[in-house]
Amino acid sequence: MNENLKHRIKARILKALHLFALFIAMAIICVPGLWIVLNSFRPTVEIMAKPPVWIPSELNLDNYRAMFGAVGEGGVPVVQYFTNSLIISVTSTVIAILVGMAGGYAFARFKFKGKAGIFIGLMLTRAVPGVSLSLPLFIVMAKTGLIDTHLGLILVYVALNVPFTIWLIDGFFRQVPIELAEAAEIDGCTRWQAFWKVEFPVARAGIASAGIFAFLTSWNEYALASQLTRSTFSKTMPVGLRDFTSEFTINWGGMCALAVLMIIPALILTFIVQKHLIAGLTFGGVKG
């Protein structure tokens, strides 16, 4: 009886500790972000106040109004930036996932000569520091007329993401027991059908996470975008953030407003794609 009670108390304490740790972790993750959201609704005076004003006296939409306003009044071409970012990120993610699925499947399922070498070779294309790549890339793009176009950035982002999507998707296809596909083929599926009906749904969690990574990488990339874009025709949102900085000052309120606008689509997309990450959960019961 006493033993039983001790056990129950221990379990309670562990549970409380778990919740407490979870709360602390989530708070650390959220606070800097909430600070940005809060700042986007406050005047600069209050943002820069010392000591900091935690509970704002007044919330308004001034920063947003200015951002969407005319150029002279602190407005930036947000809508254009947003559209550019969306087109470039979505297209490059879809292509990177398709290319990555093909490549990842090849690495996970086929045996061929020089596999490790080819794999490492593909990965190393990502090892090149962005700084040393940006100027030659600029020259090549200038020669081919791809500077300041959506296509130019899409190509770059596909290349940026393919090594990762291959690596990730390869990892998840390996978790799918090869017997599953073989069984499907014995049951009369073609290899193609076996892939789509059996292996693909099972590896969906991995493909979804690779998709999130690829999208967020292209959505947030700054260094190459700032090199390869010239005008509002192709500038993306991270490059747009720079519109709020000048030599010595930073327009914090405006920048935070744009940042909020930048985070919302990423947040929504991530939340939606989360559903597919659960696919891995239901599969956990199948034996390897």
Binding site: A21, A127, Y222
Partner: protein, 298 residues
Amino acid sequence: MSRLKPPAWFVLLLPAVIILAAVVLIPLLLSLYSSFTPYRLTRPDSLYRWIGFANYEKALTSIHFWTAFGRTVLLLTIALNLEMLMGLGLALLVNKVTWGQRSLRTIMMFPMMFSPILVGFQFKFIFNDNVGLVNNALQSLGLTDQAIPWLVDGKLAFFSILVAEMWSSTSVFAILILAGLFAVPRDPIEAATVDGCTPWQTFRHITLPFIMPFIYIALAIRSLDVARAYDIVQIMTNGGPARRTELLWTLIGRTGYVDARMGYANAMGYISIFLAIFFTVYFFRKLNAARAELGMGG
């Protein structure tokens, strides 16, 4: 009529190879060539003068280069290890939760939705010595009465960059490890519990080996993803003040674009690539070993 049919793996890999060759390999050859010239952005004709390994010699004998190199290795090592441990902890915490897990997972990935350039601005503000949140919090708690120059003092600035870097990237580890946790089969765990294993033993001998491949994938991705950290460092300190937080990426970026010495910058870039090659090959080997243990190698 017989046609030579390329093997399936070749066809599947072809798109990846083509796009990487076009976008990465060609510019890479260009910059490799320029690292053997005294190329300056301000004098385009200098691209056609061949000076052999002079740039490499200059970089290899430069104290600035080696300091930046050492600092980069230090930052990478500390950041990768801490991010991995914290990511593992976070994944385990979230994995244990039974309610609202989907929302928690989304919140967990929150920092990933921040553009690195934004993270840079944000932490520059948080660590500002005058109006920054950290100093104000410390002062109102009475822990200190003076402004701590977080971004000016060399050691503190390094620490501040580390914090920003960890805040933004721990979730990469957490989400991959969590995906790994989902894929852990239930049967061996149940069997272990029946056999009387403690939770720690179960974790150490069953769960951990199973998620090791995911940890190595995350480590490899993060170690390669040096370009991401560039934005953060560039915005927060830009290697300064007086080179006290100089990392390879800020050094190369500044040499190439501000000093306009592109040839020299590229030479430094190529030396630093060996760092990335080392990390990639190392983690790839570890990954293969971990997979072989699980019978997923080859």
